[in-house]
Symmetry: D2
Subunit: 346 residues, 4 copies
């Protein structure tokens, strides 16, 4: 059986990557693509790399256009999904790549987004350890799924093994990320111009990045301890990718030797989250185009800290890959369909 | 009066940047350039951007070649400067861009470099606060100067105001740096190939970077507290530049309001270290080609931390700029000669 | 039926891309990977992006190791394939990604490579128009195939429609190419360092590029006219990709209106060579990771010239994609298996 | 004596580079900076790399603001300079970095810009050979100067020696340029986003670039022959720089040996236009930040063509450097003041 799919917000980077993955997916077939400012144009004019979808044209985004598909992917700016989703039936699987439905505590939403919160949906990170086992379980019966934030994915996965096992002190965790500009979207802004970013590295959202409450929420599924997280993303000149470096104090009395085995055990059996052998580090070029999260971990014995690093493609495992993986699970398909564990390098 | 200058190790990136600065310096004149594998070639073949030095040819590095100049800059791999310097007279100012003479505690050298230590020289970071005032004082009478490491410069300067003023807890400081590959030198290595690094971000020297003891040594000049430093450099695709993000817990009982004023006061009157107004962040493109260190500071009140960021050009303020600035001081010249506070952007 | 495959020279960029494609190919299965300096290592250490091939280890390249497979891909420096191929049976399909077997005139080889020529093999460019129809016909019965050069592919395809139709004067064709450094291989060379190439553009092989005789040979299949070709590749800072701009005088008496229709007709029905609508230009980011050649054509009426542009991924349609496509044809499989017409952008 | 200077359009890239040069110029002092949308802001907010000009604030552009300075540099979009200049006195030196006053034939302007032409001003390319000797002569008494286009500078200089000496056939000249995006300005456009351009190469203005009539006009100063020029700029991922590859047929009966000496002789004595020794090629990284034009020339004997390559910094010798150099000449200053023949590399 082939499921019919609509993608809303198809003209942006997340929408484009979704379509690239869906074009090669054996069980999902893109029937409808919608956008706003570029509605009316052939899709291939907006995404000239998607030759195999040359038959599609962008239509105006509306609930009517999206209705009647088995699966609807929303790749819209936050604030737009709740109203659309309400108008789509319960039998439509809706996957939101935006932030609206990620946070369970409405106060977090108010604090970081400044608008009124809408209800949380099941969280599309299958490999996330929770109190009830891996998160993929709660996706199996879902008809609404919130795709995690890209930076949140990298930081969450990097350190969660140590938090769950009680190896690290959670009160002073520091995450610093090298991030490519495609995560900032396709809207023209001066500070995202090629001339401004090539040869440059620039921090942004210092001390207040919106993925902070999402990461804490993820970690709280495995610990009751208080969590302090300082997170600084740094924009660097690579189109795609995130390299998160997450540092936490080794908890008192914990032997450094346990770190490697705990990390490797945490994602045992997962094909899309891989912990590298001791001494190896993840790098962005190993995951570009893939649905892979590569994790490396080291102990700094002099400083008494654990350094956990995670590389993902922000548009892959960070957005569109997670969306397709979650859709596969919700539809009862093989979780791997349409996704690659291999990156494109160099 | 014009001083005659020799540059050893002139074929590398640090040597090239030294020569670029010296070519425009009104009081220093390059008379001799030496190298090893490329000795015998015209300098302009090795550094085709240095048209104004087309008259110079590379000679083999030796104490004889270097002797007889007023100033000798050494831009050699570590391990080579001590023996050369011994053969140069006391009346020659020797500025070593390598690591050999930076560390005061021989055990630090043994721990991080694994060879026998040689004596420390006055440390070429004029703006460094010490127990006896700014470090520039100790450079005034110097005839031997050790240029700081580039990563050490960025991390040291970023956080020292808070350490000196007791605003931060020094036991768990985390520094993560976005670093360009020119700092790794000009020797051909597969992992530094353009095809490997473009579109990529890759951590290196995880948990054991050699600038760690140097940074701690710098900070110890202003505190007696124990220092824990976790430092992770991440190679990113920009030729030059360092963006250091340094995070420390705000010390107990310290009001966040003091942070901004303490940081700004720490470098008051300095032209080559600038603290940005509250809310602004430094970026690499603002300092490329300059001798400027740009610092931004923020408080994360939720996490209870101070985030200090510093952007420098690793070859500028990080190496060759600091070398020229130190030479100016030691020779009694205007400290600014041949140096620019302005970067080249975009 | 699944065919067993060996890849020789698996540690380089062409080898890596072959393996990436083969890992996802439904009918070809990689059984053996060989290399030279890195023999003995796990493949994933050398290509950490190829997680799905983590079970493979690199062995030393030898005819014995390669024997017994249905298909052998050679991704070796030129000069190594003839001897190996002789030792592989007639029933083994050998696909050479190197230059050795491309040139039909031994004198061309001597002129451009300076060594003794070996016999030409069927040329793996299925879409090439020849006197006997498309080149794919001659691949159907082949057990030896020479994969075209990457720059040759872009230049050949860009202008061949006009040459075949007699629309252009072939005596003064000028091809200038923006080329990424992965085409230069993975061997460490100073002039390929990231610090040397980022922010840079540098011509190479001026007036004597080795793909010149190959391009002329391709064009001679459709014209008897004398061909003059000036070709200048310019290395630019993108890991992958070629953007060829090929200019030729519009032949006397030819109406400009015919250009667009002739070009579009030339590749009618081809899925991996696409001529863009009038007014559109191809770009590298539309073809990265794909087996697509995107062509745009324009007439400069004032100058009296045709400007034909072609974008390909040098490792994709330029090497590994062409190799897999040719293998599919030779094995009687669907030509599209394991290949994508879609690129990865941004 | 120090001349007072105003810069209009100071918020863009050309304006920023002008200010960077002027900040270090010993005889010119920036008194006024004007802009449009960012008027009212401190200059350093708009150009945070220009720390030494922190005392300046952007004012609204108007003739009143610009009046009363010795020199006014205009870095405005085309169409704005004529009206402003009319209101500035004859005793003010006005240097226009825009296109308005470059073309002598009004029809050229109409053909390529589509609006009404304004009178041409003396052309600010001092090294241009004309029928009356070098162009710098006509700048000595000028109070209005039109700065050449950046692409026009590279293409003009590359081939003019051969055209003047009659070595090449001018009817079929082909220029293809690798160009960085800073030449396209600082206005936010989707196709100039970092995510769109990194890893990409994209032709633009195919068959109709506006610098074509300007280049022909330059070449016509040294030849009466008909000129055919096909020019294709290709946007590549480097912030600054142009690498022009210009190919022309070697004229009938001309010996290839003459090429090298003619080219080298053409710019004898010029410090800012350098012809490289035979066999060397210019590259962008050798000229970034400089006022240097580096030229290499080769003969392709098989194809019967001359290949002339020129590297410049589009913002340096291509715009702001040429503007300052021309101002120096018009003011009777040393032509080199405030300019560097050396680039910044790597």
């Amino acid at each position: 059986m082939v499921y019919s799919v609509a993608v809303a917000g198809a003209s942006g980077y997340a929408g484009g990557e979704l379509l690239r993955l869906l074009a090669a997916h054996p069980e999902l077939e893109v029937a409808t693509v919608t956008a706003h400012s570029r509605a009316g144009e052939p899709l291939v004019n907006v995404h000239p790399h998607l030759r195999s979808l040359s038959h599609l044209g962008l239509m105006e985004t509306s609930a009517e256009r999206l209705a009647g598909h088995d699966v609807v992917f929303l790749a819209l700016p936050h604030g737009h999904s709740a109203e659309l989703a309400e108008q789509l039936g319960e039998d439509t699987l809706v996957i939101d790549c935006g932030a609206d439905h990620r946070l369970e505590d409405p106060q977090d939403w108010v604090d970081y987004y400044g608008t009124e919160a809408v209800p949380a949906w099941p969280y599309g990170m299958p490999e996330l350890e929770t109190a009830d086992g891996k998160q993929r379980r709660s996706l199996r019966s879902a008809n609404r799924i919130a795709v995690p934030g890209c930076n949140a994915t990298a930081v969450t996965l990097a350190m969660i093994p140590g938090i769950e096992a009680g190896l690290v002190d959670t009160q002073h965790i520091v995450a610093t990320l090298a991030v490519g500009p495609s995560g900032a979207g396709r809207t023209a802004k001066t500070n995202l111009l090629a001339a401004e970013l090539m040869g440059n590295a620039r921090p942004y959202s210092v001390a207040g990045h919106r993925h902070i409450p999402e990461i804490k929420q993820n970690w709280r599924t495995v610990t009751d301890a208080e969590i302090g997280l300082t997170m600084t993303p740094v924009l660097v000149p690579m189109s795609r990718g995130i390299l998160a470096t997450v540092v936490a104090p080794l908890a008192e009395g914990v032997a450094a030797e346990r770190v490697d085995s705990i990390w490797r055990g945490a994602f045992d059996g997962e094909d899309f989250v891989t912990v590298l052998p001791k001494g190896q580090v993840p790098q962005v070029s190993d995951v570009v185009g893939s649905n892979q999260a590569l994790i490396g971990v080291a102990v700094d014995e002099r400083a008494g800290t654990v350094i956990a690093m995670c590389a993902i493609d922000n548009l892959g495992k960070g957005t569109a890959g997670a969306a397709v993986q979650s859709a596969n699970i919700a539809l009862g398909l093989d979780e791997h369909l349409g996704l690659s564990a291999d990156g494109i390098a160099p």
